[in-house]
Amino acid sequence: MKNFKSMAYPYILWSIALIALPMVLIVVYAFTKEGNSVINIQFTLDNFARFFSDRVFFNVLKRSLYIAVMTTVVCILLGYPFAYIIARMKPRSQVVMVFIVTIPTWINMLVRTYAWRGILDKSGIINSILGLVGIGPVKLLETGFALILGMVYNFIPFMILQIYNSLSKMDYSYIEAASDLGADRLQTFLRVVLPLSIPGVISGITLVFLPAVSSFFIPKLLGGGQYVLIGNVIENQFLTSGDWGFGSAISLIMAIIIIISMHITKKLDKAPSVEGGDI
């Protein structure tokens, strides 16, 4: 059966060239001095020092984390009840609802984000409705509100689907058992349903936080000039100022932050599952 196995070899070469090599290049550029020929590459930490010594970049990092955390929190607060309601519907309606949530994710993110520019504009729909009541026009576009709204809009379907998956897989007899044993609705929810659905919330957090922290076109389209996030800084380094070394270093810092946050969320997952075993 050796000739079947060999069918995987071309892809291994391909993935070394187009997947692994680019990652190696990022690391190499982040740690070496710019403008050198390949023969005398010099190791340096200048790129990292520059990032952490400059207050501007540090603020960008703080802002990116803040926006990503806020987005994730809003996604949980809106997504959890929504997923919970879907999971309690008739099986047929559940299929329809999942379909309704999924369809927009198939449509180009940029198209859907751009539409919010028209909706939130000073002469847009929301402001003309507010105008009828005598309020406004309110500046909605190019604010933190618009930015978080755009992020929540783009990423909340992933949160809903993950939570729904964990809720719909839950054995209903647990809930019956809880009420048989005298728990009221709130207690049942807090001590049975919620702990069992935490894995879904955790994978939802991963799917929302990661794209939110690295996004660069949502801040550009909805956040305006004051909401420069880490993704925008990376974009500038590569497409405007051409400083690959610094750009690579920032991407590495971002990657490390993402890895650390993923690690923390996974740890959070462990705690409730121990409690879950007691039920």
């Binding site: 090599l21 290049l25 449509i107 859907r112 971002m254």
Partner: protein
């Protein structure tokens, strides 16, 4: 009665959320047919923005490139994905692990990291940015998804089927095409669908790796977005229509095929 009352807030909440999901899409489609530039008032029906779009050669080029790249990337990544998936399903754990780890990189990495990696790779190798780099990048991020959707189907196959086919006189190639591929078709279609929509919708990676005037629709919208231009709504509606059509065809075709089979049985 009590029960119904308790459900009213839930129903309102679900309704509002659905409105939130579909408002931007509805807005884009409706205002692409507006006769004025207004963002809030729909004056009367008009096709002027579509006319403007069809006369804008940059926009039409971007539509052309988007479709050509998506079709080519889908075909190439699906074929490559089928061969690789079958290959690794027959190989040892080490090889399987290597491919899985490699595939995880573009799936798990933020898109912008994949994008700058490819940008530096192409520039270091002095490949001129444009159609080739765009196509290579799209194939690169599509293949992992194709493999991911084919692998579970392969795992559930009886490994003896292949031996049986070979014992009965099939050449290895015949055994592949006539025995294995027909049994994993649903995985292949799912993979191809994901590949097509991923390529068709991609912005971040395309934006970094392209150049020399080769743009896709997303890049076009991004560069034009700063000013209010209803022509973008027309272009967006075109994308929404194409993706909806693809989704409908893929969801309806299996139902029609099944009905035909039932008729044949009768």
């Amino acid at each position: 009665m009590m029960k119904n009352k308790r459900h009213i807030p839930a129903k309102i909440f679900v309704g509002l959320m659905i409105a939130f999901f579909y408002l931007p899409i509805l807005y884009t489609v409706v205002f692409s047919f507006n006769s004025t530039r207004s963002l809030s008032v729909f004056s009367s029906f008009s096709l002027q923005w579509y006319e403007k779009m069809f006369h804008n050669s940059d926009m039409m080029d971007s539509v052309f490139y988007t479709i050509v790249i998506a079709v080519l990337a889908t075909i190439i990544s699906t074929v490559a994905g089928i061969f690789t998936a079958i290959g690794i399903s027959k190989s040892n754990k080490v090889l399987k692990g290597v491919v899985e780890q490699m595939n995880n990189l573009p799936i798990m990495n933020p898109e912008i990291v994949t994008a700058i990696g490819l940008l530096m790779l192409f520039s270091s190798l002095a490949v001129s940015k444009g159609f080739t780099t765009l196509l290579l990048s799209h194939i690169m991020f599509c293949i992992p998804y194709v493999i991911l959707s084919i692998m579970p189907k392969l795992r559930s196959l009886d490994p003896n089927i292949l031996d049986a086919a070979l014992d009965l006189g099939c050449t290895p190639f015949q055994a592949l095409i006539k025995v294995i591929v027909p049994q994993i078709t649903s995985g292949i279609f799912a993979g191809a669908l994901i590949a097509f929509t991923m390529s068709f919708d991609d912005f971040v990676i395309s934006y970094f790796v392209t150049g020399n005037g080769v743009n896709n629709i997303s890049i076009m919208i991004y560069t034009m977005a700063k000013r209010i231009n209803p022509t973008i709504n027309a272009l967006s509606t075109l994308i929404i229509a194409i993706i909806t059509a693809v989704l409908l065809i893929l969801n309806i075709t299996p139902i029609i095929l099944e009905k035909r089979k039932e008729k044949k049985r009768k």
